[in-house]
Symmetry: C2
Subunit: 310 residues, 2 copies
């Protein structure tokens, strides 16, 4: 964790998701020397070759030969590059780097960080990639108990205490929103809608109703269709109501798992951040916000520090 300026390239950090690839060339002093983003996620790389994708990006930024590379995310899944397994909860974030798996048969020291698994018969759960964001966010959060919300296709709510993941719960919010908006009778009501904003009253009302009575979720989803049919619900309000229902249901569920008053941290990037901030506000809650892009890079830096003493 040197802070003296030293722009000499030290290592390469890669966040390799299902459908996205991000790479940073990091200097000895921790500064970012180069960055690459592409759509060559696990799905694409499984066809074209993981080493080939990585090499092409390293070549594009003229990275020195033989730098160590630390990878997190779906590249470590069973269907990814090399399976990196899981650490079981409860899991200390500091134990993650040592469990990284090295890519065999290549000269460079390339390692993939493991995910986390909750091996509970009733609430089995997995994450892969978010554990590295947590590792990066832990410094900002400090000690004590935190409820960390990581919104997305599969939103994670993590119960963190003193740098240890006690447990976590995935809510299939984003994927269910897409499936419902695209593949059900609601698609007629929503098709024409543009992007929605968190200050849309239909969004906030839907969140509030779910927090008050989450049992009515699949009824409230149907009112999107019925409202469009007989109550003049506009496409954008229809989409806002569906989105507010799914996010409100997630918030109600996450709150049911922790003691009231547990501080909430939102680890998020892009437009979802505003929606979740407004949704939490509609539920009478506030949260500190940590940028997810920065958190994952800080998590990879923490890993590189632990593994290679950078």
């Amino acid at each position: 964790m040197t802070t003296e300026p030293n722009p000499e390239p030290a290592y390469v950090a890669v966040d390799w998701g299902t459908s996205s690839f991000r790479l940073w060339l990091i200097a000895r002093d921790g500064s970012v020397l180069a960055e690459r983003r592409s759509g060559e996620g696990m799905t694409t790389a499984a066809r074209t070759g993981f080493m080939e994708v990585l090499a092409s990006h390293l070549s594009a930024i003229a990275a020195p030969e033989g730098l160590p590379v630390l990878v997190c995310g779906m590249a470590g899944a069973k269907q990814g590059w090399v399976e990196a397994g899981y650490l079981d909860t409860p899991a200390a974030l500091a134990d993650i780097p040592a469990a990284a798996v090295r890519i065999p048969g290549v000269d460079a020291d390339i390692r993939i960080l493991p995910g986390l698994a909750q091996r509970d018969a009733m609430t089995p759960d997995v994450m892969r990639g978010e554990e590295t964001q947590l590792l990066g966010a832990a410094g900002e959060l400090g000690d004590g108990a935190h409820l960390v919300c990581m919104p997305g296709t599969h939103s994670k709510w993590v119960r963190l205490s003193g740098g240890k993941v006690e447990g976590f719960s995935t809510f299939m919010t984003g994927e269910l929103f897409e499936a419902i908006a695209t593949n059900t009778t609601l698609s007629h009501a929503i098709a024409e809608a543009g992007p929605i904003s968190g200050d849309n009253p239909a969004f906030r009302a839907a969140v509030s109703r779910m927090v008050a009575n989450p049992a009515l979720a699949t009824n409230q989803i149907f009112t999107v269709r019925a409202g469009s049919l007989i109550a003049g619900l506009s496409p954008v309000d229809a989409k806002a109501r569906l989105s507010g229902t799914m996010i409100g249901l997630e918030i109600a569920g996450a709150l049911s798992l922790v003691a009231e008053g547990t501080p909430i941290a939102l680890v998020v990037s892009g437009g979802l951040g505003e929606l979740y901030k407004e949704a939490l506000a509609a539920a009478g809650l506030s949260a500190s916000v940590i940028d997810a892009d920065i958190a994952v890079r800080h998590g990879l830096a923490a890993g590189a520090r632990a593994l290679w003493s950078f």
Copy 2:
């Protein structure tokens, strides 16, 4: 409502759904003289012609010319044969027949029964077809307050009191189950599963967990995927857990709308009946059961009696 034997054909009853067509030739004494079933629902008939579909079935059973025909269901939707509109709730079931709409430009007296609409800004709702089942079930139910559950693609829970529909709530259970099982990451976990049965412990456990904490619905849905990934959840148990989650969430929502102890009637046909009976039992509830196929025919008979004094 004559009970003396009289096998002379009196009228034709048709239950015309989105994807199904059922027709009965009814005698003056109320007995069924002939029955037809086909897949020529509204979707098909909107292309091939409603009159043509009806005429072909009447011809197949050699029905006498000019008999009156009473239709319920989606044939009365805006995209159906002739729009039959809605009665607004609260609505007396006895008022439904008089609101039937006559098909113009044909010699025979063919009428379509209206649906019901709940024109409420927060909980707009519609039904079309189920109102006729309710009309047919009302005699068996008797007076007093009832909660009537009508399972299906769009399950309806109806608050009935003294022959009047006070209000109702649609839960998108069946359609959401299909969309989630087919169009999300859960499809991998479920693809190989055959039919599920209501006494599957995974089904009953999922129902119980939803009734206890419905807020965790989209988390419990994700555990189907995670359980398959790390906890050896079999395809049939995965499907049972998803089904139990969707039905349990529906039951939790319906119960939140009525006073505890309101008698529950289940109007259902086929395999769904067993699933719902077991789900209600897992939630600590019991219900009287009325066959939905018989209920719709009795409802059409009640309509024919009111309109044509049969």
